[in-house]
């Protein structure tokens, strides 16, 4: 027996049996499609969550970052003394160290006067902490009193800020404090904040009157060129007080992501949803394959009497499972693509359909169908030709 025949004939029989009963085929495809969409959406939400959580730290321009050990994430920081950051400057490898002040505050919609909370970043404009051209270009204007930059990608509840600015309406309130929007930048919302605002460290203290410059939320450190980030990190860890974390850029991103994955734990919810999609799809495909074997029991027993071996029928079942996986995945993918666009328009967060995600979900669906096939082949031993006569 050659290889092509080994797989081709059972696959062809499986295909002919599948297309023979169109109603059941459609039902089976719907089951796989359902699981497919569920997994796509859950993974999509999860990736968006992680990506949005890292959107702000991703743009920070620094080599090492100080945070209080109790800071679970940048959006809910614990303050520590500015002097702790300044002590780091004693290390000869460190070129610059800047404090970053973080706070959540309500911003008033200029049109509707309603307030909604967003994230406020305060830092010395000359430090150019954010690697965003629109912010860097405005660093001189940011030095002025009561000026802010507004994130154009914030949720629409804050009002059509771009149009308002063009019409000259640029005065609003943050934390009941009157400020002037002097420009826009693009960063993006996260699960923690519906929008972002950037201001100078001095303005930050005016917006948050209870805060002072001595208590900082984060420290951003830039090293001299050609120094090892890891060795400086190790030196700082041993040199500074134990209550501060010293993160590299990658570690900071991971810390932000891990908050949502483990501490929040929204990541768990999406992971759980993914598994549930897998299980539901598994049960549906199993049911379809199981009843298929039951219905074809006589036919299989006949083939066995004719000299077909058990392995042939196992291949028939797995071929059916693979066909269902592919047939359900294609419409599932297309539907998910539409839903991703819908979700993007609702959440104002990017939800890209990446090749890696397509492959992941397909593997997921394939494993689901194979598992269903594995469970269903037990039913094959009922096809006993001795009971046929």
């Amino acid at each position: 027996m050659n290889w092509a025949g080994w797989l081709y004939f059972p696959a062809r029989l499986a295909w002919r049996q599948l297309v023979f009963d169109r109603t059941k085929l459609v039902a089976a495809i719907c089951g796989v499609l359902f699981a497919c969409v569920l997994v796509f959406m859950q993974l999509g939400f999860k990736d968006t969550l992680y990506a949005s959580a890292a959107s702000a730290p991703l743009k920070l321009d620094g080599d090492l970052f100080l945070m209080h050990k109790q800071s679970e994430a940048m959006w809910r920081p614990i303050q520590f003394k500015r002097s702790e950051l300044m002590r780091a400057l004693g290390n000869p490898a460190i070129a610059e160290a800047y404090p970053l002040y973080l706070g959540l505050a309500p911003l008033k919609n200029i049109q509707t006067q309603t307030k909604r909370t967003l994230m406020v970043y305060g830092f010395d404009p000359d430090s150019l902490l954010f690697n965003v051209p629109a912010i860097r270009n405005k660093y001189t204007e940011l030095r002025l009193k009561d000026t802010i930059l507004f994130d154009e990608y914030s949720r629409p509840e804050f009002g059509p800020v771009r149009q308002l600015l063009e019409m000259g309406q640029n005065v609003t309130e943050i934390n009941d404090y009157k400020v002037t929007i002097i420009g826009l930048f693009q960063l993006g919302v996260s699960f923690a904040a519906d929008g972002n605002v950037i201001t100078s460290d001095l303005n930050f203290m005016r917006i948050f009157p209870r805060r002072n410059l001595e208590n900082i939320d984060m420290g951003v450190i830039r090293l001299n060129p050609e120094t090892s980030v890891e060795s400086v990190q190790a030196e700082l860890k041993s040199h500074l007080n134990a209550f501060v974390n010293v993160f590299t850029y990658e570690e900071l991103l991971r810390h932000e992501k891990d908050y949502w994955a483990n501490t929040a734990p929204i990541g768990f919810i999406f992971g759980f949803g993914t598994v549930m999609g897998w299980v539901v799809g598994l049960v549906i495909v199993y049911q379809i394959l199981f009843t298929d074997i039951t219905n074809h029991r006589n036919e299989f027993a006949t083939l066995k009497a004719m000299g077909y071996e058990q392995g042939y029928f196992i291949r028939v079942v797995f071929a059916s499972a693979s066909f269902l996986a592919v047939l359900g995945f294609i419409p599932g993918y297309l539907l998910s693509l539409g839903l991703y666009n819908l979700a993007e328009s609702q959440m104002y967060m990017p939800m890209p359909m990446l090749i890696s995600k397509i492959i992941t979900v397909f593997m997921f669906i394939l494993s689901m169908c194979f598992m269903a096939g594995l469970l269903a082949i037990r039913k094959l031993k009922d096809a006993n030709p001795a009971d046929m006569f």
């Binding site: 050659n2 023979f20 004719m306 000299g307 030709p385 006569f389």
Partner: protein
């Protein structure tokens, strides 16, 4: 003359312990090549059980059953699967695959061994269907065929692989007199052409005349 089937002192029973129900008692029979043997007998006489043992579908433990030179008593599955491929089956129900056309059903016999090309298989199967008078029904599914036509497809399916033995279990049971008689005569004609041995279980006395030999089984014993 070599014996295609040799059965020697075969005994078989269902169940175990106090519930043991003997079905076949000390059956001895042998069939020559090209011989057509009918087994008749009342219901429950063990005819069908005998046929399934000959076909290697049921494991018997006592006596000797040699089919095409292979001992079936206490043999492994592999030998039986190989032997089965040289046996054609005709069932009481036609047992055709509903999702396949007549041609594809007949091809299933040839697909066990993939030495032939697709074209050769289709040609052979079509020839066989023409021989059973269904040349104009090649692409019909079983649901679109009458009972007699279906049984003729299953005869074609049994014969297309040029088996050495045909085992048939009540092939006329679900057919009317006319189509039943036609079916077995067709079977006889084609089998005689290719020197195929036929073992046919029936209690349809209308078809006894096709046999070279009629064996009567009662309570598991040959009379």
């Amino acid at each position: 003359m070599s014996n295609i089937i040799e059965v020697d002192h075969l005994s078989f029973s269902f169940g175990s312990g106090a519930l043991t129900q003997p079905v076949l008692k000390d059956v001895t029979i042998s069939l020559e090549q090209g011989e057509i043997v009918l087994i008749t007998g009342p219901s429950g006489s063990g005819k069908t059980t005998f046929l399934t043992i000959i076909g290697g579908l049921r494991q018997a433990l006592h006596g000797s059953v040699k089919v095409l030179g292979h001992q079936f008593i206490n043999s492994n599955e592999q030998i039986k699967v190989k032997t089965r491929q040289q046996i054609g089956y005709i069932f009481q129900q036609h047992n055709l695959l509903k999702s396949l056309t007549a041609l594809q059903n007949v091809c299933m016999t040839l697909e066990i061994n993939t030495t032939m090309t697709e074209q050769q298989r289709c040609d052979r199967a079509a020839e066989m269907l023409i021989a059973v008078g269904l040349g104009d029904r090649l692409d019909y599914k079983p649901d679109q065929l009458s009972g007699g036509q279906r049984q003729r497809v299953s005869i074609a399916r049994a014969l297309v692989g040029q088996p050495k033995i045909i085992l048939a279990d009540e092939p006329t049971a679900s057919l009317d007199k006319q189509s039943g008689y036609e079916a077995v005569n067709l079977l006889k004609r084609l089998a005689k052409e290719s020197q195929t041995t036929i073992l046919l279980v029936t209690h349809d006395y209308r078809i006894l005349d096709i046999a070279d030999r009629v064996v009567e089984l009662e309570d598991g014993m040959i009379k």
